[in-house]
C-alpha cells in the first residue's frame, strides 16, 4: 500500500468514525419488548393442525374404506365375498311407490384396496411427522 493510499484510508476511517452511529429513537426498546410479548402470546395459543371434527371425519372415512375392502372382496378369485356369504335378510316389505333407484356397490380389486390402505397409511405418517415438527418449532 502506497503512502497516498494509506493516508486516504486513514482519512476515510477518521471521517466514518466522526459520522458515528444513528440513534433509533426513544421508543425503540419499548417497540422490541412489545413485539416480543406479541410473539410470546402467539406461541401460547395452541392451534391444532387438524380439528377434532376433521380427525373424526378422517377416521370414519378410513373405517369405511377398510370395511368395504375387507367385506366386499373374496380372499380367492373363485370364492364368494363375505358380504355375499351372508344369508339374505327377510325384512318386511314396505309398500312405497318410490322411483326405482339402483345403487351400485363399489367393487374394488384387492390391489386397489391395498393401494388405498397404503396411501392413507402413508398420509397418516406424513401428518404425524408434520405435527411433530410443528410442535418442536413452537
Amino acid at each position: 500500500m502506497t503512502s497516498k493510499e494509506e493516508s486516504e484510508e486513514a482519512l476515510t476511517r477518521k471521517w466514518i468514525k466522526e459520522a458515528g452511529t444513528e440513534y433509533p429513537g426513544d421508543t425503540f426498546q419499548i417497540a422490541i419488548l412489545k413485539k416480543l410479548s406479541e410473539v410470546q402470546e402467539k406461541k401460547n395459543v395452541y392451534q391444532p393442525v387438524i380439528s377434532p371434527l376433521g380427525w373424526k371425519l378422517i377416521l370414519v372415512y378410513v373405517a369405511c374404506l377398510v370395511g368395504i375392502s375387507i367385506f366386499s372382496n373374496p380372499n380367492q378369485p373363485n370364492n364368494l365375498a363375505f358380504l355375499e356369504k351372508l344369508p339374505p335378510l327377510k325384512l318386511p316389505r314396505f309398500q312405497l311407490n318410490l322411483p326405482e333407484l339402483a345403487f351400485g356397490w363399489p367393487d374394488f380389486s384387492p390391489q386397489f384396496s391395498m393401494g388405498i390402505m397404503v396411501f392413507f397409511g402413508l398420509g397418516f405418517v406424513i401428518i404425524l411427522i408434520n405435527l411433530k415438527s410443528k410442535q418442536t418449532s413452537l
Binding site: 471521517w15 466522526e18 425503540f28 426498546q29 422490541i32 410473539v39
Partner: protein, 191 residues
C-alpha cells in the same frame, strides 16, 4: 452509560431475564440501527428491520453457543434481515445504485473537507455513505466504524475475503466520488 460484557447479559437473557435483554438491546441498538439505515436507506424500514433483528436475536439466543463473537452473530442477523427486505424492493435499489457514477475519478478534495467544521463534515459523510450501494455501505461501516476484520465481515455478509476486499476498495472509491460531489455542491451553495 457503562455496560458489562455481552456474555453477562446473554447468560441472564437465556434464563428469561428481560431486563438483561433490554440492556443488551440498549448496548447495541445504535450500531444495529446504523447498519440497517445504511443498507435500507429508509429510517422507518430500518427501525422495523432493527427491531425484527433483536426479536430474532432473542428467539435464537438459546441456540447461541458463543463459538463466534456475539456481535458477528448479531450483525449477520441484521445483514440477512436487511438483505431480504432489499430483495423485496429490488427496483428501488436498482435506481439508487445509478447515483454512484463509477466513471468519475475523485480529485484532491480531502484538504477542503478537512477544513470544514466537524459536525458539517460528519453530516456530509453520513449522506455520502447513504448514497452508496447497500453492500459497500455496510462493509465500510463494519470495517471502519466497528473495526471488524475482513474475515469477520466475510462471515457476516456470507462473502469470500477477497470479495470483501473488493467491496472495501470500491466503497472507498465511491465514497470519495460522492463526497466530492457533495463538497462541490456545498462550495457553490447548492445544499
Amino acid at each position: 452509560m457503562r455496560f458489562l460484557e455481552d456474555q453477562h447479559y446473554i447468560k441472564l437473557s437465556q434464563k428469561g431475564d428481560m431486563q438483561a435483554f433490554a440492556m443488551l438491546v440498549q448496548k447495541h441498538q445504535r450500531v444495529v440501527y446504523t447498519l440497517a439505515v445504511r443498507m435500507l436507506k429508509n429510517p422507518e424500514e430500518a427501525q422495523e428491520a432493527a427491531q425484527d433483528t433483536f426479536v430474532k436475536v432473542y428467539q435464537s439466543l438459546s441456540g447461541f453457543e458463543g463459538k463466534s463473537k456475539f456481535t458477528t452473530w448479531m450483525y449477520r442477523i441484521v445483514y440477512n434481515e436487511c438483505l431480504s427486505r432489499i430483495r423485496k424492493n429490488k427496483n428501488h435499489f436498482a435506481q439508487l445504485e445509478e447515483m454512484v457514477d463509477t466513471k468519475e475519478e475523485p480529485s484532491d478534495f480531502q484538504d477542503g473537507l478537512e477544513l470544514m467544521h466537524r459536525e458539517e463534515r460528519a453530516e456530509m459523510v453520513k449522506k455520502g455513505i447513504e448514497s452508496l450501494p447497500p453492500n459497500e455501505a455496510v462493509v465500510l461501516t463494519l470495517f471502519y466504524l466497528e473495526d471488524q476484520s475482513v474475515k469477520e465481515i466475510a462471515t457476516i455478509a456470507g462473502m469470500t475475503e477477497s470479495n470483501v476486499k473488493v467491496s472495501l476498495h470500491r466503497g472507498r472509491k465511491h465514497l470519495a466520488i460522492v463526497l466530492q460531489k457533495l463538497f462541490n455542491k456545498e462550495l457553490i451553495g447548492l445544499s
